[in-house]
């Protein structure tokens, strides 16, 4: 631990101070954190197994067919990573920025605006990862009792992939929040999130759409996230995964850069 501390430069250590601050806050109300854990699980049970029993098998892009639950589980993981990141970087971040004046106090210390932005994204990722681990744990347990949801030895890569999805939405979500003026503006955010959750190849393959719509859906970030995670859990790998990765990492990074700039405008007047 000591060796690690010396090795890490301040630029990497300072953002973790904000993570520690958030951990102090949630230390008193840890159960709140777990609330986000159940949502994807309930979806998995109702859609995957309930609706799935009516549907039967679904064709993957590579010609194989898998049970509906196997098809939908990775999509729920991706959606949960998105929701976790958005939740933390929209309402929570906005409250701290506009009302709690948390960052006004922090920028009076050696912490920089980049440290603030990175720290909050890191926190959102850690919180999201907790849900991913929980979700994958349940998926693993179900496999043990014979309800196999995983059809690839590379399935463990779904976890880092979910983190990449979280990074993309955390960066973009924070950037968007810096433009928000009042709480009601978040309704517009939901207007973008909800259709993505329903139509991004989450609950059915996108070849149900006309070609033009397919192309459009493929351009949305949740589609890329679902595509990435599903590839690992089903073992259907090809070069298009690189597009997913580059897209999502770029989205998070650009979001972070915009956030730092916007925070400068908002806090350093």
């Amino acid at each position: 631990m000591v060796g690690l501390r010396i090795a890490l430069p301040l630029a990497m250590r300072r953002p973790t101070r904000l993570v520690q601050r958030n951990m102090l806050v949630y230390r008193h109300s840890f159960m709140v954190i777990f609330s986000g854990f159940f949502e994807p699980l309930f979806y998995l049970l109702s859609m995957g197994f309930g609706v799935g029993a009516l549907i039967g098998d679904v064709a993957l892009g590579d010609g194989r067919s898998v049970p509906y639950a196997v098809f939908v589980a990775p999509a729920l993981l991706a959606s949960s990573a998105m929701n976790g990141a958005i939740y933390e970087t929209s309402n929570n971040f906005f409250g701290k920025l506009k009302y709690a004046k948390l960052y006004d106090a922090i920028i009076a210390t050696p912490m920089s605006l980049q440290d603030v932005a990175r720290g909050e994204v890191l926190w959102a990722l850690m919180r999201g990862s907790l849900y991913s681990i929980g979700f994958l744990g349940v998926v693993g347990l179900l496999s043990l009792v014979g309800l196999g949801l995983i059809s690839s030895p590379l399935a463990w890569l779904a976890f880092p992939s979910a983190t990449v999805v979280g990074y993309a939405f955390a960066g973009a979500g924070m950037a968007a929040t810096t433009f928000v003026r009042k709480w009601r503006d978040f309704d517009f955010l939901q207007l973008a999130i909800m259709p993505m959750f329903l139509f991004s190849g989450t609950f059915y393959p996108i070849d149900a759409y006309p070609a033009a719509v397919q192309t459009f859906v493929q351009l949305t970030p949740l589609y890329r996230g679902v595509h990435l995670i599903r590839a690992f859990t089903t073992g259907s790998l090809d070069a298009t995964l690189l597009i997913d990765l580059v897209y999502l990492i770029a989205m998070g990074t650009v979001g972070l850069a915009i956030t730092s700039r916007r925070l400068g405008k908002l806090l350093l007047a």
Partner: protein, 319 residues
């Protein structure tokens, strides 16, 4: 300029320091230096530019024009290094309401790169210093205004700063809370901490400041110790006269002015009272009686910075 820590080097050095927001000039080319160990104040009414000046010194507001160094460092290039040696008490309490009193200090120490152990050691000590030890594990929200202010001061001291910036430190506090706060600030000064504060209370400026500048409409209009300023701009004593204004009677200030003429070197007619600046207040009061004036109340007092401000700007500070 390279960084040196010689005792003679000013903690803050400003020349022609200017801050503009669009077409509005908040700080208009001010010059000042703050020496190590000094208690320096900006005195002025709301909107005079004090907070803008403080934010520039705190490196959280870019300088529009002019020269500014803190510890000999340029805030635009060495912001983090400057802030690591700075304590900031902002005008509005920016305490972390989601954390307890103690946690507020602990995490603030972490922002300054202190270890948890060191942060805890200092936090415990500081809570003692600001008399909040009993409230260590309480939430911040229910604390009184005075307690919150003391906690903000403790927080600002967690990095053992050599320069403490205080923006309106006692605004909104009751007299008892103010005196406790002044006492703590005085002790810090004894320990060699440089204080730079803004206030629109002249008693605060007189109590705390070795030297101050009077600001009005973005500019510095006078500079000196409280005593010097009083000696330079006003007489030793002030005679305050209040008159009953009979119902229905219109403006009698011209008549009153005639009667008072020549009574003292300077006379100031305010809406509710007349201020007569005289070396000997009692003598001036007697002279007023001789001229047939019958004020409802007569008060002779030592002149204060309030009078200095009135003299310099033609307006009262309190409004």
């Amino acid at each position: 300029m390279s960084e040196t820590s010689s005792a003679s080097q000013p903690q803050i050095h400003a020349r022609g320091l200017t801050k503009r927001f669009g077409s509005f000039t908040a700080v208009d080319g001010i010059d000042f230096d703050v020496a190590p160990g000094e208690a320096f104040g900006f005195l002025g009414p709301n909107g005079a530019g004090k907070t803008s000046a403080m934010r520039m010194i705190g490196t959280v507001s870019p300088v529009t024009a002019g020269e500014l160094t803190i510890f000999g460092l340029d805030p635009a290039r060495h912001g983090a290094r400057i802030r690591s040696r700075l304590g900031v008490v902002p005008q509005a309490d920016t305490l972390d309401n989601e954390l307890s009193v103690l946690e507020n200090l602990l995490i603030y120490g972490r922002y300054f790169d202190l270890s948890w152990a060191e942060s805890r050691r200092r936090a415990t000590e500081l809570l003692e210093f600001v008399q909040l030890t009993e409230r260590a594990n309480d939430q911040v929200e229910p604390l009184s205004g005075g307690m919150k202010r003391r906690l903000v001061i403790a927080r600002a001291l967690i990095n053992e700063p050599s320069l403490l910036l205080l923006d309106e430190p006692t605004t909104g506090l009751d007299p008892q809370a103010r005196h406790l706060l002044w006492d703590r600030l005085y002790r810090l000064k004894q320990r060699g901490v440089t204080l730079c504060l803004t206030t629109h209370y002249m008693d605060e400026a007189e109590q705390l400041c070795d030297r101050l500048v009077v600001m009005d409409r973005a500019k510095i209009v006078a500079e000196g110790s409280p005593r010097e300023l009083i000696d330079r701009y006003v007489t030793r004593e002030v005679l305050e006269l209040r008159f009953h204004r009979p119902e229905g009677e219109t403006d009698d200030s011209a008549v009153l002015g005639k009667k008072l003429e020549g009574l003292a070197e300077r006379i100031e007619q305010l809406p509710d009272r007349v201020l007569v600046y005289a070396t000997d207040g009692e003598a001036a009061a007697a002279a007023a009686y001789e001229r047939g004036l019958r004020p409802a109340s007569v008060l002779v007092r030592r002149s204060s910075l309030e009078d200095v401000f009135l003299r310099l700007t033609g307006r009262s500070l309190a409004e």
